[in-house]
Symmetry: none
Subunit: 227 residues, 4 copies
């Protein structure tokens, strides 16, 4: 009961934070504003989330969970389809997610920027102590793993030809998604036009590109030019 209540409260706070962050961006957002919108005081806010960064991580975590849920749904939906299809569907899912969840997308991008393996000393204390940051670290690879798993299935069922390590292919797909979501962040939404180009077309080209990569063996040793 108590626990449940606490969780509800946390959720409502995160929701408020989402709104504020969405409006003015993380950096400009003030804890005071979040608290106000959540109908509590700043100090209460701090009893739930010990730092601004932790709050942001909680939001990130929520976004990541939402994305994962989407992934699981896709996996389930396409479980009887070839692995190629489900793999591409995951890609598609991520891009839609980015489009529909601006703040989450930003948060996720930001998260993956933060976790520089090499530079733990650049992490703030607040972040190191963030429970949600720890949670994220425990699961952040899941997104690659789920994708890799579908690619592996595709290899088994013959729909995917490329012989590279599934994690490698998964990472490659990820780079395209990230790039897409970055462009999206800089432009607005799927219906937006940038240089007269529709984001939707860009998405489709990315999907087709991914498909081509998956159904072909590609020689990455070939030297394309002399530097």
């Amino acid at each position: 009961m108590k626990e449940e209540k606490r969780i509800n409260k946390e959720e409502s706070i995160i929701t408020a934070a989402e709104k504020v962050f969405n409006k003015v961006g993380y950096k400009n957002a003030k804890m005071e504003e979040v608290a106000k919108l959540a109908g509590i005081t700043k100090v209460t806010l701090y009893t739930y989330f010990q730092s601004k960064e932790n709050l942001y991580m909680a939001l990130t975590y929520r976004g990541f969970q939402k994305l994962l849920n989407g992934y699981y749904q896709i996996i389930d939906k396409y479980k009887n389809e070839p692995g190629l299809i489900s793999s591409l569907a995951l890609l598609n899912k991520f891009m839609d997610f980015s489009t529909e969840n601006f703040v989450y997308n930003e948060a996720l991008l930001n998260y993956f920027s933060t976790i520089r393996s090499a530079d733990e000393n650049k992490l703030t204390d607040a972040l190191k102590e963030s429970i949600y940051f720890k949670k994220m670290q425990d699961i952040h690879n899941l997104i690659f793993k789920l994708s890799a798993k579908e690619i592996l299935r595709g290899k088994s069922d013959g729909s995917i030809i490329n012989s590279f390590d599934p994690m490698f292919l998964s990472l490659h797909a990820w780079t395209m998604i990230i790039g897409y979501s970055k462009v999206l962040a800089a432009s607005g939404n799927e219906d937006t036009t940038i240089f007269h180009i529709k984001m939707k077309d860009l998405k489709n080209l990315i999907l087709q590109t991914a498909k081509i990569v998956l159904i072909n063996n590609i020689d990455i040793e070939e030297n394309l030019f002399e530097l």
Copy 2:
């Protein structure tokens, strides 16, 4: 001060800022530290750069200039090669640049996150008044245009087959390299391994992928799956 002298001074300050930002990250960096490293006082620092954000934008601008210079060099170097080669070389250049210039890479990523067309209220006042931010806005599309130009040349010389709008192809390539640089930012450098995968391999796969896209006509209307 003579313009030249002032510029020299600015440059030396930016260089100091680079070192500080590289060491502790933008957020933790103190203006006092930057000033000290530049051998000036805080106030002098402020007469040159009116805010921390402006200083960061100056650094970003310098990074962007450096990247553009690299682009121009590549374009010149491969001016007698087919457009396909130079286009891929540009891509390669960007990725190398990201690898070799960590702070710039981060700064550029940050910049492209910041320029949310629609949301001026997410910009801080300091940023709005930043002369370097304005400068960046004036030229940030150049990177796409240069790339598009080479693609266009490739079409002319027959090395590039894909019939899409060059800007579209340029943007698509951009998504991949942005993704790459983001992964890079999250991992470290080219020699780093992420999921046992070498960044160098990722780079090569991206180049090959880009090549495939450029030398083929791709149907982006095909429906890959039912949602």
Copy 3:
């Protein structure tokens, strides 16, 4: 905070400020020092008093209140005495106050220098926004009015003969005591000697002079000399 508590806090800060200002003078006083002496931080100091000038005005206001209280006590004490006596007692009170409260004296002199009716552009922004400056402006004439009231009473009871407007006589008395307090500010205290003259003697002469003015009708039209 409860109003009462806040006021206590304000008072303790003003007390600290008095000590610091008394020791090193307004100009050399540092807000940091005041805060330290008050046992708070600079920022807290600023939440109570928004500027150094406002703090000084608060001190001025306190000094003025103290002076007014002294006036009320005198008025009460001499309420059964002739108006002449109470009027002179007020004068005397002011001079004693100036003598005993160096910082207040200086602050009040400073205040009366500052309020140049016609020249709002000589006021700093901080002063214009000072709540205590406003408070002072609301009551600074009280000192004349209280004095004028006693003079009026003196006229009624026949102890004061001079037929001029009580406010005029009050202002005239004011010029003498302001002059006295100024000389005092420049010399030190009542026991000090300036040109071998005791401040105490000066005070007494001023009182006698005031008395003469009050108990005589004076012709101010008489031409004393040709210019």
Copy 4:
């Protein structure tokens, strides 16, 4: 020649300073502004006057000289009149001077506030080193002495009866003048009305008061009231 040139320059700077100080007050005045108005740069200004305080002292000194000149003229003009007349004329002169020379008046008042015999440690270094401050210190008593001298002459010729020390009487007159000029500073000019009272009337009352004091013997031992 050189010396003369330098003096001319100094004079023109002081004149500029007067204008600036008159407009915004000493505290708000910026050296930059003074320099600009004088048609020189800030640094040049500093070669002439080593500090803002010194500049202000120079202005004060000029004002004092002007006042003294006025005194000498009066003394000369009334040298064949009784000492009472010339004494009052001096008083009158001072009040006119205050009226006509707002900045000087303020500067003089300020000067006499500053020279607190007891508190040398409150003097700033800049002031201690000010050549004009030293000059002022050498002559600031002159104003009292000139006045005392005329009073003494009045005693000799029988026009002044009061047997007090002439310096004492002089100081007493001074307090009234100071008070007058303070009130004037707070109100504007001679034509201004404060509490419906004309400053000119105030001046005349002060003169009459002074006259009464000078032509009567006054008992300053009399106890006017019990405190």
